[in-house]
């Protein structure tokens, strides 16, 4: 056996556990899910068939199709708002906060991560409610005469999500920003670029890997989240995870739940394809 073959075998030995793990806990279950998505429910019985009936139903049944639209709308809104808020925050921490306090600043920024996700969502319900802290404060300072409805709306869902994902994006963008040499900005200034042009043409493009990595993670976590829209959205519009839970929890319609899950995975795959060129972690 040549040295090259020995090296290949050794490399295979190193990756084999990860490959086996992926096969056992991702590929095989995924294949089962795809097969199940081709089955259908008759009464309370799951009948294994091999047709696209469930997929057809998802795209022709308004209440199911709306789940895709609602999920995409909320996810895109959350991702955009989170990026817009996280970038300046990351920039302030990376450039305006003295180096010895940056770790503390990052820790404070991610502090809400330490609380349970469910507890955090319920906390927002108490803050955003008509009798909640926010309304009491706005009415107390005379900004509002009577409470307005935020809780149990899409706005509440977006607020709950943004609170969470700004932290995530701040981390990915900050880790990108601190790797940038200040010489880039100096060189741009030497060449006559204005502050705006330096930001637009130099700094921002160089932080795209951090933005895109965070945006992709935000997209994946947001579009697949059940808790936040369930607690804060008031069930006034259903996202895909909520529809999946309805199929599983109430109808026992595992084939339809599988078909919805496959579509969810396809959307995530599309998001990955759209951002893949920036998703090189070593650049973040």
């Amino acid at each position: 056996m040549s040295i090259e073959q020995q090296e290949k075998r050794r490399a295979l030995g190193f990756v084999a556990p990860a490959l086996l793990w992926t096969c056992a806990f991702f590929l095989v279950p995924f294949a089962v899910m795809v097969l199940l998505s081709l089955a259908h429910l008759e009464g309370r019985e799951i009948i294994q068939s091999y047709d696209l009936g469930n997929y057809l139903k998802i795209f022709t049944e308004p209440s199911l199709f709306k789940g895709i639209v609602v999920s995409l709308e909320i996810t895109l809104i959350v991702t955009i708002i989170s990026v817009l808020l996280a970038w300046p925050l990351a920039w302030i921490i990376a450039t305006q906060v003295p180096e010895k306090y940056q770790r503390l600043a990052i820790m404070l920024a991610v502090l809400p991560f330490w609380t349970s996700y469910v507890v955090r969502s319920y906390s927002w319900a108490l803050v955003l409610g008509q009798q909640g802290v926010l309304m009491q404060m706005l009415m107390g300072i005379g900004f509002l005469d009577e409470p307005i409805q935020i809780m149990a709306t899409r706005g509440a869902t977006v607020i709950g999500f943004v609170h969470f994902f700004v932290m995530l994006l701040t981390l990915t963008i900050y880790s990108n920003l601190i790797q940038l040499s200040p010489n880039y900005a100096r060189a741009a200034a030497d060449l006559g670029a204005s502050g705006w042009n330096t930001f637009r043409l130099v700094i921002l493009p160089l932080t795209l890997p951090g933005i895109m990595t965070g945006a992709f993670l935000t997209f994946v976590l947001c579009i697949g989240d059940y808790i936040t829209p369930q607690i804060l959205g008031g069930n006034n519009e259903l996202t895909m995870p909520q529809l999946i839970m309805l199929q599983l929890g109430r109808r026992g319609d595992f084939p339809m739940a599988s078909a919805l899950s496959v579509i969810l995975m396809l959307l995530v795959t599309l998001a990955y394809a759209a951002t893949a060129r920036w998703l090189k972690m070593e650049r973040v």
Binding site: S63, Q149, M151, L246, R250, R251, G252
Partner: protein, 352 residues
């Protein structure tokens, strides 16, 4: 060295297998509603029998049966289920028949013994343990109690944005049916379709459609003033802190829910399961179940009245049960196709 390691692993594996078997043999595994997860309810039974009761919550009969179907034979000993679904489960061979003298129902409220629902082919398969009402719960300091005697007021516009709808299609569609003059036993596919506009109208008037916890929270915090589908199971547990929370059975009537406790045919622990059923339907178990931390409800066994305080009985409206029992109807009992049609309507309503 390798021999020693092999021996150690074998001994460890054998030990783990033996303890697992012992652990499983001593446990009672129960598929339940959330009121059965209260340690105060389970503890006396566990201490008396020196066992542990493992509970898993589920919501909706279809989901419960799906869990049974996915479990191994013998995984479950006890199942708590809508009384109206006991016969179906028995017919499908899921439940074990109970000895005729296992539970004495002579002190039960007669209307909730529901022998027709708890038996199949002359055999008893379930015992009613708790009941209550899906009706209208409201904040009496913010809502005209007289309005709550007539369900059509909910669609009048007067309470738009102040209503929460309990997120369970069976009782709420049943209530909308009653408002439309359709008895729950007459709900069929055509009747359900006739409820569509009224259901959408309720969604338009509602602030939210929410589960038990979110509904309770919304009512308690003043987020909403009315809960459609609510009843004593929402307000009684909050009565001490929120005495203004009230509920009524409107003129059109309301729905009566009742839950039964059953023993699984595949249980390998039927003796203990039977003891659990006796405990939960006895006066002490009934009183603890009635005031369980998740939700309160009337005990099926009136003998529990001896164990409950006056304040607890007042919160449960103990003295008005005779009137309520006459004026309320049982849950709809849809077949598989009608059940799916009702769920489709519910999903359509949520997406409006």
């Amino acid at each position: 060295m390798s021999y020693n390691l092999k021996s150690a692993l074998s001994v460890t594996a054998a030990f783990l297998m033996s303890t697992t078997a012992l652990y499983a043999a001593d446990d009672l595994n129960a598929l339940v509603w959330c009121d059965h997860t209260d340690p105060a309810l389970l503890q006396p039974f566990e201490e008396q029998h020196g066992v542990r009761v493992n509970v898993k919550e589920y919501e909706g009969t279809a989901a419960g049966f799906a869990i049974l179907d996915q479990s191994r034979t013998g995984d479950w000993d006890i199942m708590v289920i809508d009384t109206v679904d006991v016969a179906r489960g028995a017919e499908e061979g899921r439940f074990a028949s109970l000895p005729a003298d296992a539970v004495d129902t002579s002190s039960f409220f007669p209307e909730v013994v529901m022998a027709d629902n708890n038996t199949h082919d002359g055999q008893i398969y379930g015992v009613t343990e708790k009941f209550g009402y899906n009706t209208i719960a409201f904040n009496s300091s913010k809502v005209d109690a007289g309005d709550m005697e007539d369900m059509s007021n909910l669609w009048s516009g007067k309470y738009d944005g102040r209503i929460a709808v309990y997120d369970y299609y069976l009782p709420v569609l049943g209530l909308i049916g009653l408002e439309q003059g359709i008895a729950t036993s007459d709900l069929d596919a055509a009747a359900v379709e006739r409820l569509r506009d009224r259901t959408y109208g309720l969604k338009s008037a509602a602030l939210q459609v929410s589960d038990v916890v979110a509904s309770q929270t919304a009512l308690a915090t003043g987020e909403v003033d009315i809960l459609i589908g609510g009843g004593e199971w929402v307000t009684a547990v909050l009565s001490a802190e929120n005495p203004e929370l009230d509920w009524s059975v409107p003129a059109e009537g309301a729905l009566r829910w009742s839950q039964s406790v059953t023993m699984l045919e595949s249980s390998e622990n039927q003796e203990l399961a039977l003891e659990f059923i006796k405990y939960i339907t006895g006066p002490e178990g009934q009183a603890r179940l009635a005031t369980s931390s998740c939700y309160w409800g009337m005990p099926a066994n009136s003998a529990a009245g001896r164990e409950l305080t006056d304040a607890e009985k007042a919160a449960l409206r103990w003295d008005q049960q005779a009137d309520y029992l006459i004026r309320t109807q049982l849950y709809p009992t849809p077949d598989a196709d009608l059940d799916l049609a009702m769920q489709d309507l519910w999903t359509d309503m949520l997406q409006q």
